[in-house]
């Protein structure tokens, strides 16, 4: 936290002197700017902030932040970040990964970082394609994606990062999109404030290899109809005319889109978002797969109970540390003296 004697940091302080080398028009620029802008507002310091990344376009992120940064190897950022937190739990550690890095080669590490609930802020840039290796399909690519490695279209079903995260045991799961400059800062701030692993899927556009992959939900006209912004305690309403909502249908055990004013539907029939409800989060995370359904943005799930992996691990050490020296340990037990 800043005290009065410390001048408030600005976007400039968090911007490194390195030339940004993403393709012009890449969605990563917007995410980077947003992060550089939001960190000073969170009141964090540069020296206490570390960005750890794997490999891929998104993983160049640390070079552009004027903080500590570690560009590691493909898929392994969550593991490196876990070790870093064990060495110094006071650091704010952000992990930047992509759909290939985090869900394909590094799926195992992401799973376990989330399961353990290591206090990391994990940002997964999802552009549904491999960018840096020139356009192969990724684990989040839609079936039928034509790419250099799938000239006749991909055949394997895609993975939903939100479902993966919740299934792995994540206790904070959110989604936002690169074009939502107003929405993203709030999500980053919440992710940062959460104690434990926070997982944020950022829908991001790759202008070169998968342009417009998200346009059906990000286009100005489409956005209000295809995006549902959830807020804890608020009714789930969306649509350009704010007349659509989400209702739970107990007989089908599904969420369904309804129109306020039709078939006697009123706002009272709509679901109120409850961040602490894991089952609800699972259903919300999967919305958007069927025609007419909105994609849910915001904090889908934030567990209430406090938990800290690093505190638990280091707490065991702290409770014991110093009780016996190495010498006492080595010299204990069955020894004998030769004179």
């Amino acid at each position: 936290m800043n005290d009065l004697s410390t001048p408030k940091l600005t976007i400039k302080d968090f911007t490194s002197d390195q030339e940004v080398r993403w393709c012009p028009g890449c969605g990563d620029y917007a995410i980077l700017k947003c992060m550089q802008r939001t960190l000073p507002e969170m009141g964090v310091t540069r020296e206490n902030t570390v960005f750890v990344s794997g490999i891929g376009c998104s993983s160049r992120f640390p070079y552009y932040m004027n903080t500590y940064g570690f560009h590691t190897i493909h898929g392994r950022a969550p593991a490196v970040a876990t070790g870093l937190k064990l060495a110094n739990p006071e650091l704010d550690v952000w992990v930047v990964t992509g759909d290939g890095d985090g869900l394909s080669i590094g799926g195992n590490h992401l799973l376990h970082a989330l399961r353990r609930d290591v206090d990391l802020n994990i940002l997964l840039f999802n552009n549904k394609i491999y960018g840096l290796t020139k356009g192969q399909y990724s684990p989040t690519s839609d079936v039928g994606t034509k790419s250099p490695s799938t000239p006749q279209g991909s055949v394997d079903p895609s993975l939903n990062p939100i479902s993966f995260a919740i299934g792995s045991g994540a206790r904070f799961v959110a989604r936002t999109v690169d074009t939502a400059q107003k929405h993203m800062p709030g999500v980053f701030t919440r992710a940062h404030a959460f104690k434990g692993a926070s997982f944020v899927e950022i829908l991001q556009n790759c202008i070169v290899y998968n342009d417009a992959a998200w346009s059906d939900i990000t286009e100005k006209k489409a956005a209000p109809e295809r995006q549902l912004l959830v807020e804890h305690g608020e009714k789930m309403i969306f649509g350009a005319e704010r007349n659509k909502g989400i209702r739970f249908n107990p007989s089908s055990f599904r969420l369904e889109v309804v129109i306020i004013g039709e078939n006697g539907i009123t706002e009272d029939d709509l679901l109120t978002h409850d961040e602490s409800n894991r089952q609800l989060a699972i259903m919300l995370g999967e919305l958007g797969a069927n025609p007419g359904e909105p994609v849910v943005m915001g904090v889908l799930y934030a567990a209430q109970a406090d938990h800290s992996y690093t505190q638990a691990v280091l707490g065991q050490v702290e409770a014991q540390k110093g009780k016996r020296s190495l010498k006492d340990l080595m010299y204990s037990g069955q020894t004998w003296e030769v004179k």
């Binding site: 070790g83 376990h112 004998w336």
Partner: protein, 616 residues
């Protein structure tokens, strides 16, 4: 009675039984009692990979060998003088190791038709010419044990579990060892099950009494093996895994750093994970990762954060860590990587020993990726070598490969406890923020060591970005410049090569600094080479023993030293790897002597090789 006791200089005893018979416990308790009596010793636990192989089968046989004596003991002994076989399968597997005329104790109670069949015997070998060459003591140990523990009301199965203690009692009597340390241990181990503790103690005493009073003393001699004339000091029996773990912690303390271990369970490296996990009182942080890659990545992350990251595994796991090792080399972060080698390739022989990961350690990464490689020679040596690995890692900002093996990891030997206060500290100083407007670079190098300085997150003014992409020599920023890559590759090499001047000169372990033949070894072949060279020199042969701890870089004087001998032979438990590295570095015609059976060298095998080489 004293006149009945024959004094021996040394003896080799091998305990063999089913995996469930508790032979490792029996052996380690015999070891403890022997160590406390002041004899020198070396042990060899030889157990199957299966946790509980089907009872009575040959592949389920577990053995423990101990060589102990009133002289310096450097190997586990080529051939046992006494073999205990708790069932037919144990006899079948181990009889060929027993020296002719040796003592064979068998539990005849287990020689049932079914057990004989399982061991592959058509008829019982007991009382047949097959065993003629040995002094056989047939006892129904099962029955004798049941009688001894009858009063404690244990079930038949539980009562039979005391068989190993009965046998231990007998062997302690035979070799004039004390029972008290074993009794103390049993009472502690079964503190919550006093009935079981008492039954085991009763079995132990019964076995001992059987030797003393019975029936045996007429036919079997009792032996006495005295204390060795060791250097004065306080001694303790240690395994390699224990000493290595202590060395890592000592290294951390000398550097003034916290230790963070990332590890994934793997045979035979897991005892290091266990030992360090149990050292929270000494402040060690351990992380059982989701896989081998995560284990080293967490260690690298910890080192990036200003702790000393350590990872421990065996060959297959080290293979998985290869890419991450490259990251640590490229970012110049200290990490200690411990490889407890086992038989390979692939899964290979998980519980058997080998030295076949030397190429992997020295050469096994993508790109030009030099790292220092150190090798331990014995359980006690692990302590000092681990400290050296830590020192080199932090002083030179580099990952260091520390090679040990399955034999050293599990074997025990008496070890003179070091005086920790005399160890030379090597405190780490983290990078400081530059003064004024100067831009901070993470790649400022020490002129002498060429090591970069070590910035620590959390410190204002040393913020920086690093990664596996090539970095500019001066600024540390990403650089694809051709000349810069040449320069960085050269400096990474020069840094590691320079370590040669910061390690002790290579000494001659035994023999002369020049001559007809040098036997050059590394790692756990130390014992058999040392004994073989001693015997050869006693025969008057011109042979010396050189044992290398620093494999990469080699000590600065090694080439000159090796060139002072007419011939070089290199016994290794692999197909010839150090020999290749010696040829590679020096173009010296080192000849390989190889054994890849999962078993340590016998002294005789090396002695034969020495004689053959000198006769050629």
């Amino acid at each position: 009675m004293a006149s009945d006791v024959q004094v021996l200089e040394s003896a080799v005893v091998r305990f063999a039984g089913d995996s469930g018979d508790g032979m490792q416990l029996t052996g380690s308790q015999f070891t403890t009692s022997t160590a406390l009596s002041g004899s020198d010793l070396s042990t060899f636990p030889d157990f199957p990979a299966e946790i509980r192989a089907p009872v009575g089968t040959t592949f389920g046989v577990s053995a423990f060998q101990i060589n102990f004596g009133a002289k310096a003991i450097k190997t586990v002994g080529d051939r046992p003088d006494a073999l205990v076989a708790m069932n037919p399968a144990a006899l079948k597997v181990n009889l060929k190791t027993l020296r002719p005329g040796g003592l064979l104790v068998v539990d005849a109670g287990t020689f049932t038709t079914r057990n004989l069949q399982k061991a592959g015997y058509e008829t019982s070998p007991l009382g047949t010419p097959q065993l003629e060459a040995y002094q056989v003591i047939e006892l129904d140990i099962s029955k004798l044990t049941l009688e001894a523990v009858k009063e404690f009301g244990l079930g038949n199965k539980e009562a039979l579990r005391c068989k190993n203690m009965w046998t231990l009692g007998l062997m302690l009597w035979m070799f004039s060892r004390k029972r008290e340390p074993v009794i103390d241990w049993l009472q502690k181990k079964f503190a919550k099950l006093p009935q079981v503790a008492e039954a085991n103690v009763a079995a132990l005493n019964a076995g001992h009494a059987f030797g003393e009073t019975a029936e045996l003393s007429a036919t079997v001699k009792r032996y006495q093996i005295g204390a060795v004339h060791s250097e004065p000091g306080l001694y303790k029996t240690v395994t390699g895994s224990q000493a290595l773990s202590w060395g890592i912690v000592a290294g951390g303390e000398l550097a003034g750093l916290d230790i963070v271990l990332g590890s994934y369970p793997i045979t035979p490296a897991s005892p290091i994970l266990h030992a360090l996990s149990g050292m929270k009182e000494q402040g060690v942080v351990t992380f059982q990762a989701e896989d081998e890659i995560a284990a080293i990545c967490a260690a690298i992350g910890a080192s990036y954060g200003g702790a000393l990251g350590v990872t421990s595994s065996s060959g297959p796991g080290i293979a998985l860590k290869g890419e991450a090792l490259g990251l640590a080399i490229s970012t110049e972060l200290p990490v200690v990587v411990v490889n407890s080698q086992r038989g390979g390739p692939s899964t290979g022989l998980p519980t058997k020993t080998e030295q076949s990961d030397l190429y992997q350690a020295v050469y096994g990464r993508n790109g030009d990726a030099p790292i220092p490689v150190l090798a331990t020679r014995s359980p006690g040596d692990c302590f000092e070598t681990a400290i050296e690995a830590c020192r080199i890692a932090v002083k030179y900002m580099t990952p260091v490969m520390l090679l040990t093996d399955g034999f050293i990891a599990n074997a025990a030997e008496p070890w003179k406890l070091p005086d920790l206060d005399t160890l030379e500290p090597f405190p780490v100083e983290f990078a400081k923020a530059p003064e004024g407007e100067e831009e901070f670079s993470p790649f400022v190098r020490d002129e002498k060591t060429l090591a970069r300085h070590w910035p620590k997150p959390g410190v204002a003014g040393t913020e920086h970005r690093i990664g596996g992409i090539e970095k500019d020599y001066n600024t540390g920023h990403i650089s694809y410049d051709p000349e810069n890559h040449q320069k960085m590759t050269d400096v990474r090499h020069a840094k590691v090569e320079g370590i040669a001047n910061d390690i002790p000169a290579q000494d001659v372990d035994q023999g002369t600094a020049s001559g007809k033949l040098a036997v050059v070894g590394w790692g756990s072949t130390y014992g058999p080479i040392s004994e073989a060279v001693k015997s050869a020199r006693d025969e008057g042969l011109d042979v010396s023993h050189i044992h290398i701890r620093y494999i990469s870089p080699f000590p600065a004087n090694l080439e000159e030293l090796l060139r002072s001998y007419d011939r070089i032979i290199v016994p290794e438990m692999n197909a010839g790897q150090l020999k290749t590295v010696i040829r590679d570095k020096f173009l010296i015609d080192a000849k390989p002597i190889n054994k890849v059976s999962g078993q340590p060298f016998k002294i005789q095998e090396i002695l034969d090789a020495i004689r053959a080489e000198l006769a050629a």
